[in-house]
Point group: C2
Chain length 119, copies 2
DNA sequence: AGTGTATATACACATAAACGTATATTATAG
DNA sequence: CTATAATATACGTTTATGTGTATATACACT
């Protein structure tokens, strides 16, 4: 039914924490080991492992085990879902988008979608 | 430098709560009064007012005061910012996107994204 | 075997978040 | 002016979340 209460449920929660966003940001450049991530975030290793667990449960990361190392990397699905969710409000955020002069999506410009029915 | 720690900070937190997402969903169809929203969400009016305050602080909604009524409606900016944030991971989520056969952005063709189910 | 390294998990704790009840505020009706 | 409706806020309580320390597990090397 509605995409809002389905997958995105955990996605927003997972990204609500700034440390987790920093981890995701670090993983944006490619896969990283846990200690590698610890070096970039100012919490202890245990905290990073916990955050990685949360991100993993939310579908944001996969692990590639190599010996005693674990390399985490981003999974595309949650980002796709987020993009879908936001695009559901496209008419909303395109209202003012025109005067900002450009479109995020890399397309040229937006159509003047005018829809507003105050119930 | 990174867009992640700027505005999106509060945005994800605001959307982390399912009730707030339901409110946002309801506002997607247009502006609504507080009591109107209370009818759609199964918490009390005080809770809805609190959520609206949080959404307002996060920039998601504006108020139009009309007599004793307050009509809340969505602001486009946070959605734009979210779209920007996600598009920063475009290379990530486009990796697997092809085999899903469609693009969220509507560039390709029909997307079975059907929503608009206020409940 | 034993030692060291990489990561996860258990536990305790502190803080934050969400909720309901009750109350305050403001506007409107009578 | 009083009563009522619409909304916001204060307060107390419960539950969730993030953190560190300490410990466990798994591998690697000697």
């Amino acid at each position: 039914m509605c995409i809002y209460t389905n997958v995105t449920v955990t996605a927003f929660g997972a990204l609500a924490d700034p440390t987790r966003r920093r981890i995701v940001e670090a993983l944006g450049a490619g896969e990283r080991s846990v200690n590698d991530l610890v070096a970039r975030v100012d919490i202890r290793q245990s905290g990073v492992s916990r955050h990685l667990r949360i991100l993993h449960d939310a579908g944001f990361v996969t692990v590639r085990v190599e010996g005693q190392h674990r390399f985490y990397s981003l999974r595309p699905e949650p980002f796709l879902e987020l993009a879908e969710w936001v695009s559901g409000y496209r008419t909303t955020w395109e209202r003012r988008l025109d005067r900002l002069g450009r479109v995020v999506e890399g397309r040229s410009q937006a159509r003047p979608t005018k829809r507003e029915e105050p119930r």
